[in-house]
């Protein structure tokens, strides 16, 4: 994903320079992770302006609460993507954002709902769709809900009408499929 002119460091270097509050760390952080984080955020929040706001809030929060990150507890991206997902869900549930969505024109609602339910193909997600093809439909739907919709596994169990244990197993299987695919 590294383009020309973008800064890329190893995760260890990045964590080190972020800890030392180095200016270059901010740029490296953005260049290395903005698209991955924005991918997650923009699937939870369809509205581009709102999604961009959340991306900004995410980076501000990462920068300010970086002291609470510990390499012992996991990888940097895991910590960051959880911040991004939580901010995106907070935004989605915020009063302002709900009111804004109520003002949607009626004719726009069909596409809006389709977008929300992910029934339309986002051209940018074509490659992903290929990948997700390798997953079984039930694995795919659980991963979509939890990873891209910000559902908890309890909410996903309710939504899909299946027991919690099954949800957890399917989630694990889905991720094992991904591990096979990426390795």
């Amino acid at each position: 994903m590294t383009k020309k002119g973008k800064i890329s460091l190893t995760e260890e270097e990045l964590v080190f320079s972020l800890r030392n509050r180095e200016k270059i760390a901010i740029e490296a952080l953005y260049d290395m992770y903005s698209s991955s984080l924005y991918g997650v955020i923009s699937r939870i929040i369809i509205d581009t302006a709102a999604a961009e706001d959340v991306l900004q809030e995410t980076f501000v929060k990462i920068w300010h609460s970086f002291s609470s990150y510990s390499t012992e507890k996991g990888r940097l991206f895991t910590w960051m993507v959880n911040i991004a997902r939580n901010l995106a869900i907070d935004k989605l549930r915020s009063k302002d954002f709900k009111n804004q969505n109520k003002n949607q024109e009626l004719e726009n609602n069909v596409t809006f709902i389709d977008e929300q339910r992910n029934t339309v193909y986002n051209p940018e997600l074509l490659g992903v769709k290929d990948l997700v093809q390798t997953l079984k439909p039930e694995q795919k739907s659980i991963l979509e809900l939890v990873y891209f919709k910000g559902y908890t596994h309890v909410e996903a169990a309710d939504e899909l009408g299946i027991p919690l244990g099954t949800i957890k197993t399917r989630l694990r299987m889905a991720i094992l499929e991904l591990r096979k695919h990426f390795n």
Partner: protein, 275 residues
């Protein structure tokens, strides 16, 4: 190892990576990964695959957003206390020294001018005070001389009135045989019963402290005392004597101080008859 395998297969690590765990579960997972390398390795695998999955699903945000976000972070960066460059001391060459302290010299000169003005004012005030004192002294002298002049004028007026008064007769008393050079003027008004002697025109020798001159009126051949007087060098006024309505002549004798009941005839100085 069975427990660890079961723990891994429970799917809790996946939920941990997805941030879908309670605080209690989170603490438990963190305890497990720090204790069992196998759990840590499994977690790492899950994280890497999810990270790769996210990278596959990555969406490039707009180019403008990069600048906007980096600027907002750098703005915060400047406010951040832990930002190391914040602690750098201010470069000396950034400080601009005030040259020749121009604004200060104005006040210095102004102060000097004020001080000079104050000294001049005090000197002028002292001078004015002296002049005022002198003027006051002059004024007192003038007013006293004016008073004196007024008194003199009043006295002269009075004197003049006596001479003008038609009821007054001016009688010239001539020196006796012993005192030929002696003479004096007596003004007598029978109507007003007043007798005045002109001290300014008194041509008598000065009396000593033991003696006084006594004025007598001859009424029906008998001498009547009209009072005593002294001859002094500075007596200038008209001296009023005791009153009498009728007199044929006036005479003056030198008597012991305080006067005598009867005149000492051999000490008669001057005499004049009323015409």
């Amino acid at each position: 190892m069975e427990d660890i395998k079961a723990y891994i297969e429970s799917g809790i690590l996946e939920l941990y990576v997805l941030g879908d765990v309670t605080q209690e579960e989170k603490n438990q997972v963190e305890a497990m990964i720090s204790e069992y390398p196998a759990v840590k390795a499994e977690l790492d695998e899950i994280e890497r695959s999810m990270e790769a999955y996210a990278l596959e699903n990555a969406i490039e945000p707009s180019e403008e957003l990069r600048g906007k976000i980096l600027n907002s972070l750098l703005t915060n960066f400047g406010d951040d206390d832990t930002f190391p460059t914040k602690k750098e001391p201010v470069k000396k060459d950034n400080l601009i020294a005030f040259t020749a302290s121009k604004p200060n010299s104005f006040y210095k000169y102004a102060f000097a001018a004020c001080l000079a003005l104050l000294i001049l004012s005090v000197a002028a005030l002292v001078d004015m005070y002296d002049q005022l004192k002198e003027a006051n002294t002059q004024l007192v002298a003038l007013s006293s001389s004016n008073q004196h002049f007024t008194n003199t004028v009043k006295f002269m007026d009075h004197q003049l009135n006596i001479y003008r008064d038609p009821t007054f007769k001016v009688i010239k008393l001539q020196g006796t045989a012993k005192h030929t050079s002696a003479s004096m003027l007596v003004a007598f008004s029978p109507i007003k019963k007043q007798v005045m002697i002109d001290m300014a025109d008194l041509q008598l020798p000065q009396n000593d402290s033991a003696h006084q001159y006594q004025l007598w009126a001859l009424v029906g051949g008998k001498p009547v005392s009209l009072g005593v007087f002294d001859k002094t060098s500075d007596s200038v006024d008209m001296k009023q004597m005791q009153s009498i309505a009728v007199a044929q002549a006036f005479a003056v004798t030198l008597e012991p101080k305080g006067g005598s009941v009867n005149p000492t005839m051999d000490q008669m100085m001057v005499m004049g008859a009323v015409l």
